[in-house]
Assembly symmetry: C2
Homo-oligomer: 413 residues x 2
């Protein structure tokens, strides 16, 4: 299988200014192509270190993707580094200039050789079209390794890999790898593999390399399928094996779809509309659902009732309920669900009220407490949960738990 | 300066299942300590490849952080790999077992040697306390390099680095590096450095290594300050230089705080309350503001008015306005801002209505169009913008643009 690696360049990644997104972008785009993705190396804007790394990786890989450092400012060194690694000069490249002129025009601006060096490329390399930005990429060859350089801005990196590089790689790819993924909720991985299903790992290993990964919504069980099992019959056999175990009821989907995608699809099929009343999640549940393209056919809206006044005035939570039971209570969550269901005019409303911290804990209600309500035409109820983590994790964990309840309700109705 | 590198282990990172967060976690925690962060390498669960990488990096670094593969399942190989790199056996370690027993208890569970091998460590290594999960880390020495292994779950990785590893590293650190950051909005980097301020880069370079980075809210200009300029007087001198240029009015803050943090702080100081009416952003603006701890003192709530019925019923947008001008219009945005300001009872309301795509474009209103309204006691108005990108980027870009307007309004009032 052809070997591919990635080098990501940028001081900003090693000094904590930003989080890298370009590894996952490359991984996603090449996953269906069947390469052996060996390694991703993140380096600072260091001329000598990056030059050495490129030379070394070019001897170990068939393809090398270099991301970042293609912009117009002085800290953008990739072009000179690649020239240095290839032991050539930077020269004028009319094809690169043509691409730059075209892209500047698309962005309503005019290219000039003074304000960027996009018309220069290392000798004997070609430009790569940038569908979503100004800087052309670079296509080079070092020994037997093909090198592709993309900008570091994730949007530009993604568009260039998808539209310009993947089509070139496709011709060179061999057998694709295929994942079988089973997504579960509400049980830790040890409980799955050591208590509930002690033989499951061994049984699944016959079909390929097994891995277990805790993610925010639960545990993913993944099999990298051997070629002979990359077919629907084998997939069904694997599903039967898993569903014969005690985790049957904790499976919420197979495959890599997110829970919000599954909810939107299944609610659409059933003609159900949904909405949220969010306190501690602050709009995250609504935002998560609306990340799904086409969600507008099922999601009508939400109320972020952060202050008690908003709970009372917009979704009709009673003042006495808040006074007697507190904002974080089963009673308030139930009224939030009922009130928002009515105000939004939806079939199913989910409500969240809890303490994401770091402040706000009260006796008996530690940080991490959340009450989640569900209201349908059949009535409303709420459950209380406790999770651990910092503010961001808790917001996410609360949100996911509500989405699990929402999916169950969509399937029930 | 002492050299540090990171190795991140996990098939899930190279097969696109999840996005890595642990590089930024490490970078953030060690940034104030003054190490030379050389490299981060991401590898799959490959016994031989990881062993080789550890051996190689141990010769090039003073410290090596290995992240991932410490869990209880068979795909968690780090413990055996480290033993292999050190050329020792795995042995029982009573200290590790004590930590595991304590942590299981904290999570309301009981440790058993059958369901995990947390009591085993490579010979002559010590366990590292895991404040936020079950698996102990590993502290080892290979040649002159100190090795620290942490779990891959970001929450556990972060807690272990912060609470257990940073205190050990602190003693060994030398001079800290210090960043000067200027955050700007609404102008591309080329316009800044080649048109508006052609001498700025050179002027700033006297103070340290300069870099320019486009992020979602605009362009960050960063200087990695030389030791002699790590003081308030120099910082003021740099600010004076920047503010003497034409980008003066595009600077929204200095330092690494996010725009939502700045908004919450400044609104709090002025005693202003804020709220949102969100259509195309789907709750993202509310969720972003509520990521800030303490935001409840300024953010009262929001309405996610995805469907027109919600716009009409909860925030009082007129049916005629929607019919005559469409949901995505200056007129609708203005009414959304006015109506939500009243419904939420806030001083400033920001409204969003636009087309995040991929569907929904109409003649004259392409995907990427957004109208953003601002309402205060002085009245309401709205502006129309056009951005480029996919659904996720557009949601983010819309959200950021509204936050820029919100911050300006907080500063005005």
């Amino acid at each position: 299988m052809a070997k591919i690696s990635q080098i990501i360049i940028g001081d900003e990644l090693l000094n904590a200014k930003i989080n890298d997104l370009n590894l996952q972008i490359l991984a996603k785009e090449i996953a269906p192509l069947g390469f052996d993705f060996k390694k991703c190396t993140v380096l600072g804007d260091n001329f000598d270190q990056v030059t050495q790394e490129i030379k070394k990786q070019a001897t170990e890989n068939d393809f090398l993707i270099i991301t970042g450092g293609l912009g117009p400012t002085k800290d953008d060194l990739t072009k000179s580094i690649v020239a240095n690694a290839l032991a050539v000069e930077l020269v004028e490249n009319l094809e690169a200039e043509k691409i730059a002129i075209k892209q500047y025009k698309a962005f309503g601006r005019v290219f000039s050789r003074e304000s960027s060096n996009y018309h220069m490329l290392p000798k004997d390399t070609s430009p790569i079209y940038n569908p979503s930005g100004l800087a052309p990429g670079i296509h080079a060859k070092l020994g037997s390794c093909e090198i592709f350089c993309t900008p570091g801005v994730p949007r530009e990196c993604e568009a260039m890999i998808r539209d310009s590089i993947v089509p070139m790689l496709k011709d060179r790819a061999q057998s694709a790898h295929e994942l079988f993924v089973c997504r579960t909720h509400s049980i830790p991985e040890e409980t799955i593999f050591f208590k509930l299903c002690p033989n499951l790992w061994k049984d699944l290993e016959e079909f390929g390399k097994v891995s277990s990964l805790p993610i925010i919504s639960g545990v993913d069980i993944t099999i990298n399928l051997k070629p002979e099992f990359q077919n629907e019959e084998s997939r069904q056999k694997i599903r039967d094996i898993i569903e014969a175990t005690e985790i049957k009821n904790n499976i919420w989907t197979y495959g890599l779809r997110s829970i919000e995608e599954v909810i939107v699809e299944e609610a659409k099929t059933k003609g159900l509309t949904i909405g949220f009343a969010e306190s501690c999640t602050g709009g995250l549940a609504s935002s998560t659902i609306t990340n799904v393209s086409g969600s507008s056919s099922v999601f009508l809206g939400g109320v972020v009732s952060y202050a008690n006044s908003v709970k009372e005035n917009i979704i009709n939570v009673k003042e006495e309920t808040l006074k007697n039971h507190g904002a974080v209570s089963i009673e308030t969550a139930t009224e939030m669900a009922t009130g928002s269901r009515k105000a939004l005019g939806v079939d199913i409303a989910i409500s969240y009220t809890g303490i994401a911290g770091p402040g706000g804990a009260t006796p008996g209600k530690p940080v991490g407490t959340v009450c989640i309500g569900v209201a349908t035409s059949e009535g409303a109820s709420a459950e209380r949960y406790e999770f651990r983590g910092d503010r961001m994790r808790l917001k996410n964990k609360f949100c996911q738990q509500g989405l699990i309840l929402l999916l169950a309700k969509v399937r029930d109705l």
